[in-house]
């Protein structure tokens, strides 16, 4: 009888709980859907888990994942729909979509958490309401250059970047950092997805390039490292968050051995509570093996966790969590957010001047078919020096 009463109370509680909508708009299909698909699943699963485990402060968070097909117009439509409905925060995705929406985000004052770690998302102008979940691409690339400078002082480096704002984002800071580290950036090459990179690689080899640092997606990087192996080139490869990871291992196989990668997330097979939690959620919600292996799955979880925590805190503070007042209340909570959802290598901390959640990164290296950490979590001081001048 007692059990039935408890169950009834829970069901009634959930039914009566205030509903708060939280939308994610990203590429479940179309370009970059190899990341977006798993990111969306991460958002969905963390949301279900948070509701089921009472991590929402008595609210019922209704998460919606929308496929914008990597199309900015669709992202904007979804954002406007969320705005009209009174959502207090928005989970975004692409660099282009975020940069395009920045003026509107600023105008309406909606907390916006993208999957793009472009530093321009949180740089002025119109940067008050955009919050990166983890360190920016610029900081990631500089962290790699710092690692390279330690491994091979005075190394000759080529940057191979995606031909888009996403790819070009870290280039100016990387050039400044390289000058300070005594590294020579020989060339910045924009590279799309191709079938053969012999010409690029041979040219790099002729220029004496020793390291290629990628700010790209895993597909072209995999072909590049495979071609470099076939050509027998003595060049090492390193990449920022979206350039490496399990996707790269799957596509490049043995050729990825030795690839240096930087990210703020744990690997799915690591023996740490964060990875165990991600595996638990994946199994709980019957996700396939490729989801559990993807680094984009915990990335989606982290974005959802940040937004839900801010909404919960606003609600607990007795503030409204929907409409204009809800947006303002959630934003105020974001500015002081300091918590550890246990999904990345450091806690999430935001302030008025710091719009990067997890400030720490780790360098990993592909060894024996998996990425293993070769550094402790750290923050790049050099990034702050070259980007902010402090």
């Amino acid at each position: 009888m007692k059990r039935i009463a408890t169950l009834l109370a829970m069901v009634l509680g959930l039914a009566l709980a205030q509903e708060v909508h939280l939308m994610w708009s990203g590429a479940i299909t179309g370009p970059t859907s190899d990341a977006g698909k798993y990111y969306a699943q991460g958002v969905e699963d963390y949301c279900r888990y948070a509701n089921a485990e009472g991590l929402t402060g008595g609210l019922k968070i209704v998460c919606e994942t929308r496929d914008d097909q990597y199309n900015n117009a669709n992202t904007q439509r979804n954002f406007e729909e969320a705005l009209e409905r009174g959502d207090p925060a928005f989970l975004g995705y692409s660099t282009g979509g975020t940069l395009q929406l920045k003026p509107l985000i600023q105008e309406v004052g909606m907390t916006f958490i993208p999957a793009s770690y472009h530093i321009g998302n949180i740089d002025p102008p119109n940067n008050d309401y955009v919050f990166l979940p983890i360190a920016s691409y610029s900081e990631q690339v500089i962290a790699l250059l710092e690692y390279i400078a330690k491994e091979k002082p005075g190394a000759k480096v080529a940057l191979a970047v995606h031909p888009s704002p996403f790819g070009r984002a870290p280039v100016p800071d990387a050039k400044k950092a390289a000058a300070q580290l005594g590294i020579k950036i020989v060339e910045v090459q924009e590279m799309t997805k191709g079938l053969d990179y012999t010409a690029t690689l041979k040219r790099f080899a002729n220029e004496g390039v020793e390291y290629i640092v990628y700010q790209n997606v895993a597909g072209p990087v995999a072909t590049m490292v495979k071609d470099a192996k076939r050509l027998g080139l003595n060049i090492k490869h390193a990449g920022a968050h979206y350039a490496g990871g399990p996707d790269l291992l799957r596509l490049a196989g043995d050729a990825a051995e030795g690839f240096i990668w930087v990210t703020s997330y744990y690997m799915p097979d690591e023996d740490v509570p964060a990875a165990a939690f991600v595996r638990k959620l994946g199994k709980m919600y019957q996700r396939p093996a490729d989801t559990l292996e993807s680094v984009h799955y915990p990335s989606g979880m982290l974005a959802a966790a940040i937004a839900i925590e801010a909404i919960k805190r606003a609600h607990k503070a007795g503030k409204p969590v929907t409409g204009d007042a809800g947006r303002a209340a959630v934003y105020q909570q974001m500015l002081g957010l300091d918590f550890d959802p246990g999904l990345a290598v450091g806690p999430v901390t935001y302030s008025k001047t710091d719009h990067v959640g997890v400030d720490k990164l780790r360098v990993l290296k592909a060894q024996g078919g998996k990425f293993v950490p070769v550094s402790e979590p750290f923050q790049s001081k050099l990034f702050r020096k070259v980007h902010y001048g402090k």
Partner: protein, 297 residues
């Protein structure tokens, strides 16, 4: 000199993959004057069928390729029967819109499977490394690409020149009304062309998947990348597809090798072949080997 040779050889190899991907495009246009905007999706389906058979059912890679060729031939045949046949005699824009819709439909269907949106690669079935000569290196998947392109080219060459069905297809391509008056089943020819295009698409998908991994967007992109190839070679010319593919492949590589260092950020391989294409079309508006259609009033 070795550098130049490497760029040219690599360009030839990439060009032969473009040619293989472009063959199906040309086959359809040649017989039915339809531009198939879903060709990239056919390429993707071919690669995914091979991967699914190998990864989920443990089928041998070569047998999987064979089954994939059959599957995409069947897909092409069914697409023609279900979607294109009712449009015979309708404005060409309607047909084009149907192929664009078909592309979206196939994209959506692939995304409903566990394969949509992921990155996959076939298990190793070729030896490591590749062939090296005169300081030039070509990987085994690339050798396979050249071999498959040559096989398909010879097979289609023989088919069109020597077989009765091939002659019927040529007749339909030349003049549909005249062919019909001679008792050639135009409907049958159209369906056969779509099936043949499906076969070449699967072969191209298999090769691209082997070289750069299996991902829907990447495979579909190859289908779009062959547009300049077929326009350069001539939309209705099989030798044109091969030569156009090779020219584009070599130009891309030479641009990367020699022009990229002169341009900040590089990326000239994306532009330079199009400049050459524009130049060629200035003098040869129907492409290098396309049929020059002269209408007299």
């Amino acid at each position: 000199m070795t550098y130049f040779l490497q760029l040219v050889i690599s360009g030839l190899v990439v060009g032969s993959i473009y040619a293989l991907a472009a063959l199906g495009f040309v086959l359809i246009y040649k017989s039915s004057r339809v531009i198939n905007f879903a060709h990239g999706q056919f390429i993707a389906v071919g690669a995914f069928v091979v991967y699914a058979l190998v990864a989920y059912l443990g089928v041998n890679v070569w047998l999987a390729l064979l089954l994939s060729l059959v599957s995409t031939a069947l897909l092409g045949f069914l697409v023609e029967k279900l979607f294109l046949k009712p449009l015979v005699g309708q404005p060409i824009i309607s047909v084009i819109m149907v192929t664009i819709g078909l592309a979206s439909l196939i994209d959506g269907l692939v995304h409903l499977t566990p394969l949509g949106g992921g990155n996959f690669s076939l298990p190793k079935f070729l030896p490591e490394g590749g062939i090296a000569f005169l300081g030039v290196s070509v990987s085994y998947p690339q050798v396979l690409a050249v071999f498959l392109t040559a096989v398909f080219l010879l097979a289609f060459g023989w088919f069109f020149q020597r077989s009765t069905l091939g002659a019927a297809m040529r007749a339909v391509a030349d003049d549909q009304m005249a062919a019909m008056s001679l008792g050639v089943s135009v409907e049958h020819v159209f369906a056969l062309a779509w099936a043949a295009a499906g076969i070449t698409a699967a072969a191209a998908g298999f090769i691209v998947g082997t070289i750069s991994g299996i991902n829907l967007e990447g495979l579909v992109a190859i289908g779009l990348r062959v547009f300049p190839v077929v326009i350069l070679g001539g939309l209705d010319s099989i030798p044109g597809a091969v030569i156009g593919g090779i020219i584009i492949g070599v130009l891309e590589n030479l641009a990367t090798g020699y022009l990229d260092p002169l341009v900040p950020g590089g990326g000239t391989s994306e532009v330079f072949p199009f400049l050459v294409l524009l130049l060629v079309l200035w003098f040869k508006p129907h492409g290098l080997f396309g049929t020059e259609e002269i209408e007299r009033v």
